[in-house]
């Protein structure tokens, strides 16, 4: 090695010379530093999941939606077909004893939201197979926000993200028949008794005939925190004031039959829902959305949601809002339900993807004779 000072360490006047770096003692030190730096980089990569391919994360979850439904740029990866609404919420003050959230103090707060069909197809026909959803954004006076996404089924069909991921593939429509492969569905249900049970609970009650007379449920449990810090497990429901009528078994030829009926309904005046909070008992499961809580649990009517008008999805309205169920005000906290963090994470990926994509108009255009 062409080293000017093979034995003695280089003096201070030569410490920055390349030759000084190349003496064996310094090469060893530089090697040690390199190993340390690489080890930290590797730890970082491991933390970010780059070293564990096949791990289920939020990116894989949203990719699964695209795999099952195809890519529909600019639209939500789930609940893709929908319409915005605006209105207000009148709190009657009855929720104050359960939660210190300002939304439950007596008074009115503005709301907006979105009615949608579950599923990742933005042009899917309205029909009996589709679960309907209502998402609401409560804009509280002090700048806090509460968002909740609810479905018109009494329980959810899976307990956690992995089951949901597997269920999406198992119930994927066959391209030839347009329906899920019965053998795959049966195989999934055979290994997921909780899903089979949840489906039987869902089938106990008929769906309603429309959006306006449907009841939408939080499915996941949350915790209400009162002014004294007491934590209560809760679920909630938007219960329609419009009288329930069962869904027609006649297939409709209008692919937007449900949305058109909603627009016609609101043309005759606002539609209302009562927000009922179900007060859980310590033995009620909060970490399993497939299990209904006993029917005799106390339901507290905390106020009335009024939906006044519909708006087609457009820049800056509900189209560009992520109805992340963990956007919560002080006084409402997540439960230990694993679906909540998973929904929050996956919605965020869906939101950012569609935000950067070109937009096409929604299939639902109220007021334009859709």
């Amino acid at each position: 090695m062409p080293d000017a000072h093979p034995q003695a360490p280089p003096g201070p006047e030569h410490r920055y010379d390349l030759a000084a770096l190349l003496i064996p003692a310094n090469l060893r030190r530089l090697g040690l530093i390199g190993v340390l730096v690489l080890a930290i980089a590797a730890l970082f990569a491991w933390t970010g999941g780059w070293l564990s391919s096949g791990r289920l994360d939020q990116t894989a979850m949203i990719n699964r939606f695209e795999e099952v439904n195809g890519k529909h740029p600019g639209f939500r990866r789930n609940h893709a077909k929908g319409v915005c609404f605006s209105g207000w919420f009148d709190s009657n003050g009855a929720g104050v004893r359960l939660s210190k959230a300002s939304v439950f103090r007596p008074g009115r707060v503005p709301i907006f939201g979105r009615f949608a069909l579950a599923g990742g197809m933005p042009a899917m026909p309205d029909g009996p197979a589709a679960v309907r959803s209502m998402a609401v954004n409560f804009s509280l006076p002090d700048g806090e926000v509460w968002r909740t996404g609810m479905n018109d089924i009494p329980v959810f069909v899976v307990r956690d993200a992995q089951e949901f991921y597997d269920q999406l593939l198992a119930t994927r429509p066959d391209p030839n028949t347009g329906k899920p492969d019965p053998a795959r569905v049966a195989a999934f249900l055979a290994t997921h008794p909780e899903t089979a049970h949840a489906i039987s609970v869902i089938k106990e009650h008929p769906f309603s005939s429309g959006f306006s007379n449907a009841t939408y449920n939080s499915l996941d449990a949350f915790r209400f925190i009162d002014a004294a810090g007491k934590s209560t497990p809760v679920r909630w429901s938007m219960t329609s004031v419009d009288a329930f009528a069962p869904e027609s078994t006649e297939p409709s030829h209008d692919p937007n039959a449900l949305f058109d009926a909603l627009a016609a309904r609101l043309g005759g005046g606002p539609a209302q829902w009562r927000l009922l909070v179900t007060v859980g008992q310590p033995q009620d499961p909060t970490n399993d959305a497939t299990i209904p809580w006993p029917a005799e649990r106390e339901h507290v009517d905390v106020g009335t949601l009024t939906v006044q008008a519909l708006q087609a999805e457009a820049p800056g309205n509900c189209r560009d809002i992520n109805f992340d169920p963990l956007v919560l005000p002080s006084g409402i906290e997540p439960s230990d339900d694993p679906l909540l963090s998973a929904r929050s994470a996956a919605y965020s990926v869906s939101f950012t993807r569609r935000a950067g994509e070109p937009k096409t108009p929604s299939a639902v255009q109220p007021g334009k004779g859709s």
């Binding site: 806090e144 993200a161 929050s344």
Partner: protein
């Protein structure tokens, strides 16, 4: 001749080193975890605001009480690298929280710190702005991590190979 950074500079450096490194690992963990996402995000937001505040204090402090001079015989390329990487670090520790705050503003999210404490939006609600800022936040974070690795490698080279007092100027425990 002053040989070490001021006490305040050293306290800011080492506390922010811990916070920023934790922040980088929290960030990269939360975007790849379904089950830990929520509690990690809940730490990420207030920690980012704390880092933004500390970065502002730190830059003001740096302008007020300059760093001790580098060794006179340090070659110009190393000097440029040292000064350049430090201003890059300062720039990134300011830019990352601001871009994070901006991207949440553009997405129409409430910017919750803890409880009912939240920040106002600093940008209008715009999905195209969010689509620009969200990937920028990731790119800047990776740049900050890379700059941190270079900074750590250089600091240890000063300590173990050059032995020129540069590492001790920040790592000294004397007042």
């Amino acid at each position: 001749m002053q040989h070490t950074f001021s006490g305040l500079s050293r306290v800011l450096h080492w506390s922010m080193a811990a916070l920023i490194l934790a922040m980088l690992f929290i960030g990269v963990a939360m975007v790849s975890s379904l089950s830990d996402y929520h509690w990690l995000v809940s730490i990420h937001r207030p920690l980012g605001v704390l880092i933004l505040l500390l970065a502002a204090i730190r830059i003001a402090n740096r302008l007020r009480s300059p760093a001790p001079p580098l060794p006179q015989d340090m070659p110009p390329t190393l000097r440029y690298a040292a000064h350049g990487s430090h201003w890059l670090l300062y720039g990134l520790m300011l830019a990352l929280p601001l871009v994070g705050w901006g991207m949440l503003s553009a997405a129409g999210y409430p910017i919750v710190l803890f409880g009912s404490l939240h920040l106002p939006p600093i940008l209008p609600h715009s999905d195209s702005l969010h689509a620009l800022l969200r990937p920028l936040h990731t790119a800047l974070a990776l740049a900050l991590f890379a700059t941190f690795l270079a900074h750590l490698g250089a600091a240890l080279t000063h300590a173990l190979v050059f032995r020129d007092g540069v590492f001790q100027s920040m790592a000294s425990w004397r007042r």
